[in-house]
């Protein structure tokens, strides 16, 4: 009886699967958000388009990053398609910030016929998918997966963002060069690849430069609501600058709690801090004077940035963050390489791969997130970090 019932259920679910399967076989008919921007033909699949696929967390806790990268990439694709030359088609799949789901998403894209890959948005999934990229010989450039393991040992995987070690050492260098502080406290998230990676290189570089770290405290995913212990430690040891290699949600709580305990050190963040001004319910006065090292500034006045920000705002009703800019730059970098190498959509993924790898290791690219970016054979990008400070609720370039 019970078993019969279980069997019946299984049959029902299989029926549901079949129903869904037929739908997913036609991904091109589903409207993609933002695909109608600047696109006269209404955003349907473009004939002879090069298929670009990417995975990112579109749902769940890290969704804000995945969605931003996807939206940024979509705007770039729409702009390029409107030019009329090389045509692109973009497909972003949800990976829920999980390695297993990312590989599934990657395989879905492979079934779809992906020719060029945007890798994964976040680090852990990107480490898993980059191996697949390497084995399948599909070229990948990830917008924002910053772990070293993403590119290590893979000739055809590139990063648009700084690798974690570069951020840590660049931050230490910047603090010393600009004489921002003498006694530094660090609070980092020790169950997070991104945060730990930056912390470790920051410590190494600080030791080289003679920067004194007086307090090092940690938190985890489960304990990121209360920072009184960490702040108390920094305060009692007289730290005048707190280095925060983390995303902006915990950072916003740190600012709040430091204020309530009458502690006003300088704060220095990294690119994960970008986005704090658009955080809902956050009192932006708290972020006054916060410094951060980020490659992208939404308030920059050059024509390209203002154009991008305006388009992003009208399409998605928010100010683009660095992830969106990274996504945008990735598509444009692919576009320039594709044009230079004369890639056409009828080439196979591995042929495109060889052409693009040759281009990326030799050319230099100007984008929203930096000028004269170059890539080494290890896949890591070389570009100048921009120091920003928050003043009157807006980012301001520091140099």
């Amino acid at each position: 009886m019970k078993k019969f019932l279980a069997f019946l259920l299984a049959v029902m679910m299989l029926a549901a699967l079949v129903a869904c399967g037929t739908k997913s076989a036609l991904p091109d008919t589903t409207p993609k958000p933002g695909s109608n921007i600047n696109e006269p033909d209404g955003g349907a699949a473009v004939a002879g388009a090069i298929k670009i696929g990417g995975t990112g967390p579109l749902t769940g806790g890290a969704a804000i990053y995945g969605q931003a990268a996807r939206n940024g990439a979509q705007i770039a694709v729409d702009e390029i398609n409107a030019l009329g030359g090389v045509q692109f088609e973009l497909n972003y799949q949800d990976d829920e910030h999980d390695a297993e789901k990312a590989v599934n998403a990657y395989n879905t894209l492979k079934d779809w016929g992906m020719q060029v890959s945007l890798g994964s948005v976040t680090s852990t999934p990107a480490v898993a998918t980059s191996v697949e990229n390497f084995e399948d010989r599909i070229f990948a450039i990830t917008p924002s997966a910053s772990a070293v393991a993403v590119t290590a040992g893979k000739d055809n995987v590139f990063q648009m963002c700084f690798a974690d070690p570069n951020q840590g050492s660049a931050s230490a260098q910047y603090i010393v060069d600009q004489k921002l502080g003498t006694k530094v406290a660090v609070i980092y998230k020790n169950d997070d690849v991104y945060s730990t990676g930056i912390y470790e290189t920051f410590v190494t570089k600080s030791a080289d430069l003679g920067l004194e770290i007086v307090s090092t405290t940690t938190f985890t995913e489960d304990s990121q609501q209360d920072f009184s212990v960490q702040l108390g430690d920094a305060k009692s040891k007289g730290a005048d600058l707190i280095f925060l290699p983390m995303y902006y949600t915990p950072a916003s709580l740190i600012f709040q709690q430091a204020k309530s305990m009458d502690y006003a050190p300088k704060y220095f963040g990294v690119d994960g801090m970008d986005g704090i001004l658009t955080l809902e319910g956050f009192n932006i006065e708290l972020a006054e004077g916060v410094m951060l090292l980020t490659p992208f500034n939404a308030d920059a006045t050059d024509a390209r940035t203002t154009g991008f920000v305006a388009k992003y705002k009208s399409a998605y009703n928010e100010v683009p963050n660095q992830f969106a800019a990274d996504g945008y730059d990735c598509v444009y970098a692919i576009y320039e390489a594709v044009t230079a190498a004369g890639v056409t959509s009828d080439l196979s993924a591995s042929e495109i791969n060889d052409l693009l790898v040759a281009q990326f290791t030799t050319f230099s690219f100007n984008g929203l997130t930096g000028d004269n970016m170059t890539w080494g054979t290890n896949g890591q990008v070389t570009k100048a970090p921009k120091g920003m400070v928050i003043e009157n609720g807006a980012y301001l370039g520091m140099d």
Partner: protein, 351 residues
Amino acid sequence: MRKLQKHTVNGIFTYALVIVAFVAVQWLIRSGNISSTLRGQLVPICAYVVMAVSLNLTVGVLGELSLGHASFMSVGAFSGVVACMSLSAAIPSDPLRLVVGMAIGAVCAGAAGFLIGIPVLRLNGDYLAIVTLAFGEIIKNLINCLTVGLDSRGLRFGFLKSADALNLGEGGKVIINGPMGISGIPKLSTFTAGFILILVTLFIVMNLVNSRAGRAIMALRDNRIAAESVGIPVTKYKLMAFVTSAALAGSAGTLYAMNFSTIVATKFNFNTSILILVYVVLGGLGNIWGSVIAAVVLTILPEMLRGFNDYRMLIYAIVLIIVMLTTNNARIKSIPAWVRSKLRKGGASNG
């Protein structure tokens, strides 16, 4: 006599189900009709099937709710991968190394299960559920603090230290790097390995359930006081089921980890434990082949729902709710009996 037959039929059906599925998928692979998505999911599916069957031993057969099953998977994954990566010179054969890795994963997870089981199994019901949940989180956090490296002197362990503090010698490499987990895992897992592990798991679990020990375990589930009064040693049999379940989860963890190039401890959190519990509850408590089907279907389902884009997870949740509701609906439950009576009548008139 009838009881025995039922067990045998049930067992044959379960093995047949798994073998037919394996042959069908192999045929699909040979003929090239399989999508990359499904092909990439084969090994995780095998791992989840083993997880579901092993948890069914604790939840369905022993009758204790465990919310920390993913932590045993985690122990097995990390220890198995460390073993496989450090034995790469000693055992050149990939399948053999995978088997050794799985065995080490199973032993480590079994040992963790034993250590946890001693205090935990003195508790009952809700208390046990809460404590297993806590142990799951503890294991996750311990692995987050662990660094392991390999150099010419052998394995080096560090706790709450960065990878640099391991002082690895010339040519040394970091295997477990704290919260960053392991990256650069060689892909040793294959669908065939997963299939064999499922068969071994089914063999162990079904033989245990149908043995003298299994009957003692089920007696504990049905009425602990009565079982104790007839002289069944409670702790011994509870531990037996719990440790077996943990060890199988450990080998599943190794299989799972050796399929992806990276694993992190946070993957094996509370959510994963619940996910596996959902497989077990959906497949039916104590129903082994139900667990197999539920694990397969619920692993494939979210991927099949990709066509719904942003509404995917919402629809997955709705499907789960509908399935859970229908399993408790008396009218739907009466359908199989009705179908059977119709069939019997039809058979009688034809014959």
